[in-house]
């Protein structure tokens, strides 16, 4: 789990599977990306990203994260800043797939209501995204094209592809 505090009361919370657990979603995504010609990719792991906007303190977001969003048995639960260590010279990529602002985000709406049900201040909005952390060589343009054909539908999604070096 990664919590990044953003300006103007926007919190970004990332929840991911503990590394010792096999990530079936990640494996499926890897198969799809490799089928698009990105055969140098060797691993993909999926995490979930929540953008919580509203008058919640960092501690309140942390509480919501621990009690609502994160399964303590299978998922990571520690506050860290994102700093992936370089691994054997391979490239690291991070792909965030968000629903466009005009598209209803049912999961986000449910999380927003659930945070309020916990007795915490009700966020103004919650949007969620899927984050794919890729290991392997690729170039950005090819990756963006492959993502638009597999993991994101440009009609409703906004995909952000970035190199995930520290």
């Amino acid at each position: 789990m990664t919590v990044r505090v953003q300006p103007s009361n926007t919190h970004l919370v990332e929840i991911r599977l503990r590394p010792e657990h096999a990530d079936a979603e990640g494996a499926a995504a890897l198969t799809l990306l490799r089928a698009q010609g990105l055969t140098s990719l060797i691993e993909t792991r999926v995490s979930r990203l929540y953008e919580i906007k509203g008058s919640l303190s960092a501690n309140q977001v942390l509480q919501a994260t621990k009690d609502l969003l994160c399964d303590a048995v299978t998922q990571e639960h520690r506050v860290v800043t994102p700093s992936p260590a370089p691994m054997n010279g391979a490239n690291f990529w991070r792909v965030e797939v968000w629903l466009k602002p005009t598209v209803t985000d049912p999961v986000g709406e449910t999380v927003r209501d659930a945070i309020a049900d916990m007795g915490l201040p009700k966020p103004e909005s919650v949007r969620c995204a899927l984050v794919y952390r890729l290991v392997g060589r690729a170039n950005k343009a090819a990756l963006e094209k492959a993502v638009s054909k597999t993991l994101a539908n440009p009609l409703i999604h906004r995909a952000v592809v970035s190199e995930a070096h520290p």
Binding site: T102, V103, T104, P106
Partner: protein, 804 residues
């Protein structure tokens, strides 16, 4: 009318060309005759229409809402004869239902779903819908909202039914399609993954079992996938009727209204192109719909409302327009709960935001109703009231937005005569292709993408939730064999643990037969659906049918001619099988430009869904062989009907006769089998469809892990057949392979009648302990000996391999 808030559009005095351009710019999908009728109406009123009025008319008159093709006159030429069909729907589907006159049909073609009696106290509401165009653009969201929509249809049927089963049938391009695709269209495998995920997420999250369906692959669906979703709901018989009274309040419940999903109805009435509006695609919110479901059923039990309907295509405009069609309605849009405050009035009125329902509530019940919905965290808003002046008046902050005569809105649609032609299939002898060894052909048939295991899809669905799935979609000793249909015991909804009556739903679909003759396709589809449900123990004489036509553009006379053939096939099948149609839907204009810019129409597709009660779920049977040494009986005659068959496809052969159904004989066989099942004399039964006897016997064998020995010379058949291949792979309809214990053989046979219309039944072999499919040919020599394990491997690996 006072000043409208919306922009007023100038249409009076404009040329048809200008009006067409205006329609295209606003995605109105109105034709010249409709524009002329609108012009004439507003000329009479001496004013210009507001944008909201034009949008309301366009939505109400869309193909999606008014089914113009099925209800308008058609000049139909078949061979050398030409005749006029006044109303195809009335003359085929409705006429057949009227002719068979079943007292257990409680509501047909009127409500959001068809309703049949289920015992003395309960009724079943059944509806199947398509969500093709949205699923082509965004497979996940399109399929999800399709499921949400059909669930709301059942919720909005009568005074509300509790959904107890979801079904899904898909038609896609082959998942390993290698050819080019035009810009913007998804690869069939991506469409498949997204659609399956959408159906899965919505059904599973709402707690409705998804336990029936099928998939058909054909590359002509690559640009226009078909997504049929169905729901069965259960409701008490007292709640089947509903009536709006003037003075009832118009109450919207459920989700808020946003800009999402504008133009869904008009969008579905035109060809799919690259310029489709992005707003037509939405993501569903299953939890919101579950809240509406729970609250609505609670309010129904307390009789807090007098009528209900769902907000589907056209949003408030069509829901309130439909409810108030016979009286009138006065709507104040400022009271609607909105997702964003900057919505224009026409957007609020037309938005197709999901998970919303509209109720007609007597004023004295409003407080209690609001409390019931609030307890589920579900918002309500009073939008106005139903009136008795026959007008639809919509205002937004005291400014009139729509002021239309209900009569013009619902009856003013001009009927344009279309032309249709059907030249008939060229009677051709089978030709072309290369012969294959029987064993190779069988392996190819069983691993064919249209026959192979659907476990990859089925396992993603929760088919057990509600605890009533008695016969499951996957059957046999390892729970992975292909069942004919599921059997549901809805005790969780009825609360009656002593009543063992259940029901089943089955489907029939085969566009390959339709390529030869859509008339025989329709009969074959009805026959397939009925024999599937008979196989699990349902009563075929109590079956009710749904039709879903998916066709290319009806502007093309040949396409329309084929559609008429199919509709006439439906009529004759319903009459012949004495099975009424209770509801249905059509989706037209399923064609788009391919990568070379050429129009690619889908093959004319008819989905028949059948529902029938199972008198005692404890006697339901599955299709797997139950033990060695049991007799195998084949019901139904085998003819040389390989036209459109899987065997011809495998050989690359064309031509031949499509399967031709004899409904009277078929029904006799089904009824006899049902009587035998009801007496507990049948161990297993499986229908013969794609791949004929060879595939059916192999499936029963590897699912039960017992082999069988079949003697083709014993098959009831056309005596002119001298070919083992024809007997093994012919797809003659109405045939079922049945396993009977030796001690029950004579009692089993007593159920089969004698006479001209009696279905033939013969012992064709027996089950064996050794898991091998062994077949003795017409000359008495062994022609096939295939290990079932290898056949099962071939059957199971196709879909996972194609999807990677």
């Amino acid at each position: 009318m006072s000043t409208a808030v919306d922009e007023t559009l100038t249409i009076l005095g404009k040329s048809p060309k200008d009006l067409r351009a205006l329609g295209e710019a606003r995605h109105l999908s109105l034709n010249d005759a409709e524009w002329a009728a609108i012009q004439a109406h507003f000329k009479g009123l001496k004013r210009e229409p507001s944008l909201a009025e034009l949008e309301t008319i366009a939505q109400t008159w869309s193909e999606h809402c008014k089914h113009k093709t099925f209800t308008s006159p058609i000049k139909y030429t078949e061979g050398k004869k030409t005749r006029t069909i006044k109303n195809l729907f009335q003359e085929t589907i409705v006429a057949a239902t009227a002719a068979v006159k079943k007292p257990w049909c409680l509501s047909v073609f009127e409500d959001n779903a068809g309703v049949v009696a289920f015992g003395k106290k309960w009724a079943l509401a059944f509806k199947a819908e398509t969500h093709n165009h949205p699923s082509a653009l965004e497979p996940y969201g399109g399929a999800e909202t399709g499921v949400g929509g059909v669930v709301r249809d059942v919720l909005g049927c009568g005074l509300g039914a509790k959904p107890v089963l979801n079904t899904d049938v898909f038609c896609f391009g082959t998942p390993d399609y290698k050819g080019a695709l035009p810009e913007g269209s998804h690869h069939p495998s991506r469409t498949l993954r997204g659609v399956v995920a959408g159906v899965r997420d919505y059904g599973n999250r709402m707690g409705i079992p998804t336990a029936g369906g099928g998939i058909w692959f054909d590359d002509d669906y690559r640009l226009n996938p078909l997504v049929f979703v169905g729901t069965v709901g259960i409701l008490p018989q007292w709640a089947v009727g509903k009536k709006v009274s003037p003075g009832d309040l118009i109450v919207a419940v459920g989700g808020r209204t946003g800009r999402d999903g504008l133009h869904g109805a008009t969008f579905s009435s035109s060809n799919l192109g690259a310029d489709a509006p992005a707003s037509a695609v939405q993501i569903g919110h299953a939890i919101n719909e579950k809240r509406v479901l729970d609250a609505l059923l609670r309010a129904r039990e307390r009789k807090l409302y007098s009528s209900v309907t769902d907000c589907g295509a056209g949003g408030f405009s069509s829901a309130i327009g439909e409810l108030g069609a016979d009286c009138g309605a006065r709507v104040r849009l400022e009271d609607a709960k909105l997702k964003a405050s900057d919505l224009e009035s026409w957007e609020i009125w037309l938005s197709e935001s999901q998970e919303r329902m509209v109720l007609a509530v007597p004023p004295k019940s409003l407080k209690a109703l609001e409390a019931v919905f609030a307890a589920e965290g579900c918002e309500t808003s009073v939008l106005g009231e139903f009136t008795k002046n026959g007008r639809l008046l919509v205002t937004h902050h005291d400014n009139a937005v729509v002021d239309l005569d209900m009569k013009f809105l619902h009856k003013g649609l001009p009927r344009v005569e279309r032309t249709a032609t059907w030249t008939g299939p060229a009677t051709s002898k089978p030709a072309g292709g290369t012969e294959k060894k029987l064993s190779a052909a069988l392996r190819e048939a069983i691993g064919n993408v249209n026959v192979c295991s659907r476990e990859w899809v089925i396992r993603q669905y929760d088919h057990e939730v509600q605890g009533g799935t008695v016969i499951k979609p996957l059957q046999g000793v390892r729970h992975d064999g292909p069942g004919d249909a599921c059997v549901i015991w809805p005790h969780a909804a009825t609360g009656d643990m002593d009543d063992f009556t259940g029901f089943t739903v089955a489907h029939g679909l085969n566009p390959d037969y339709g390529r030869i003759d859509p008339y025989w396709m329709a009969l074959a589809c009805v026959d397939e659906a009925l024999r599937n449900l008979t196989c699990v123990g349902a009563d075929p004489s109590r079956a009710a049918l749904l039709d879903n036509f998916c066709w290319a553009s009806p502007e093309d006379p040949k396409q329309l001619g084929a559609l008429i053939r199919a509709a006439e096939g439906c009529r004759d099948a319903a009459k012949g099988f004495s099975a009424p149609f209770i509801s249905g839907k059509d989706s037209l204009y399923n064609q788009s430009k391919d990568e070379k810019g050429k129009e690619l129409p889908i093959p004319g597709t008819l989905l028949i869904s059948a529902i029938a009660p199972v008198p005692d779920v404890r006697k339901a049977v599955t299709m797997d062989f139950k033990g060695p040494g049991n007799a195998l009986y084949l019901i139904g005659r085998t003819n040389d009907e390989l036209g459109g068959s899987l065997y011809h496809k495998i050989l690359g052969r064309s031509g031949g006769e499509p399967p031709k159904v004899q409904p009277a004989t078929a029904l006799d066989g089904f009824k006899s089998l049902h009587a035998a099942i009801n007496r507990g004399m049948v161990l297993s039964a499986h229908d013969l469809s794609d791949g004929g006897l060879a595939v059916a016997a192999a499936e029963m064998g590897f699912t039960g892990e017992f082999g069988c020995l079949l003697d083709l010379d014993e098959m009831p058949r056309d005596p002119r057949i001298f070919s083992n291949e024809t007997l093994l792979f012919s797809e003659s309809p109405s045939r079922i392979l049945v396993e009977v214990a030796p001690e029950n053989e004579s009692a089993f046979l007593r159920h089969f009648g004698k006479g001209a219309k009696a279905a033939p039944v013969r012992r064709v072999g027996q089950t064996t302990a050794n898991p091998i499919l062994k077949v003795v040919g017409l000359d008495g020599s062994s022609i096939m000996e295939e290990p079932l394990r290898e056949l099962k491997d071939a059957w199971q690996k196709t879909l996972p391999a194609a999807l990677g």
